[in-house]
Amino acid sequence: MDRLLDSAFIYVDFDGRLMTKAEVLANVELASVQQVVTEAMTASLHGNTVVVTGIFRMKGMEGGKPYLRRGRFIDVWMYKNGSWVAISSQGTLIAR
């Protein structure tokens, strides 16, 4: 995952928390996510940058309790130095 994220990557979690790349990588190691499924993704190209919009469903355990979340995300990817890296990502839970 380290190679997928730009050094200046910023992530906004479903609860509004902002995380840097280092914080995201640390959080991924701690999280007990059992399944992540994406759907309805669309991408728009802007030069060397792509904006991806989609829906995620995430299932896992937190504090000993199971959770199931469904949200919408926007990821921004950029082609840098011969590879694609994410520079931004945000998730928002879908009401209902």
Binding site: V12, G47, T53, I87, T92
Partner: protein
Amino acid sequence: MKKLFSVLLLLLIVPRTHAQGAVPTQADESRILTLELAWNQAVQGKDAKALEILIAPEMVYVEYDGTLMNRSEYLASVAARSVHAEQILCEPMTVRVYGPIAVVNGVYRETGAKSGKPYSHRERFTDTWVRREGRWLCVASQSTLIAR
């Protein structure tokens, strides 16, 4: 709704960090922050015409409740009379400029009434801007409620 804030708060808006990996360009950062302010003022005034010059045709917008809107849907939502923002305060924003791409992160508080019911939100947003033919246009905007 898109965040709004008073003109006075513009004085507090200073790019706080030059993120590692992003190329710092002060003029672009200042320009984008000015556009963010113009956006907010247009929303506050329900001025969809003013917004049209800031938003790319392919813009996608994700509302705090996960609703996805395209450009025309977003402009219609701004013009809707059912939402009235009474007070909106924005905290300092961070801008990362990658040549013709810029990403803005920030937090705003908004109180008002929607369909006659009062609301109070604190939200974190990410706006993505693209420089096209000498103009910056927003291609993506997303807000997420901050848990209390």
